[in-house]
Symmetry: C2
Subunit: 86 residues, 2 copies
DNA sequence: TAGATATTTAGACAAATATCTAATTATTAT
DNA sequence: ATAATAATTAGATATTTGTCTAAATATCTA
């Protein structure tokens, strides 16, 4: 839970997730969507990967990133606990 | 969204929410549940209040805190966007 | 093999964060 | 009024975080 909220506690990383939700992208394509250096984006991708929110596979010269939505289930359950008691 | 994830990006604050989900508590009662000074807890409560996740009202000498679960709705919607496409 | 492209890693640095102690404000009760 | 209790605010400090530049790694192509 910790690493998840840490990963989501940044607007750039949340935007990356929204981008990947529309389709897979390479690291470079993701970086092109932001006014930030590639190393910075790479670092954000690393945090998202640590939280298991994205998966990466090398495709030749490129590294392609995909969103992993299964992680959200646990968090939604955690959030829903607060709505039960109504 | 920013302030919400910021507020939730701390285990102590998440635990405070879980406590308040069982019932209202005063600042002191909350602090007693943690091995941390009262000023530190007060600071966490302040962040939770900024995120509108808790509400506080003074009751005489005490200040009572309640959880505000309405905020979760928006976040669950945000999280659910990632599950739609399945 | 050399050079070009894609990406990450390393190291530095400023800004944000979590925590503490000490001081302040607010309320109650003697 | 004074003292006691509840809670916050202020200020200090160590740690974490986001960003950058420079360097390193990996792949492709001529």
């Amino acid at each position: 839970m910790n690493i998840f909220f840490k990963a989501l506690n940044d607007p750039t990383r949340r935007e990356i997730l929204e981008l990947l939700n529309k389709g897979d992208l390479t690291a470079g394509e993701i970086a092109d969507c932001f006014s930030m250096t590639k190393p910075s984006i790479s670092h954000h991708l690393d945090l998202l990967r640590q939280a298991d929110l994205v998966v990466s596979i090398r495709e030749g010269q490129y590294i392609k990133y995909s969103i992993n939505t299964t992680v959200f289930d646990g968090v939604v359950v955690w959030l829903m606990q607060f709505k039960k008691s109504t």
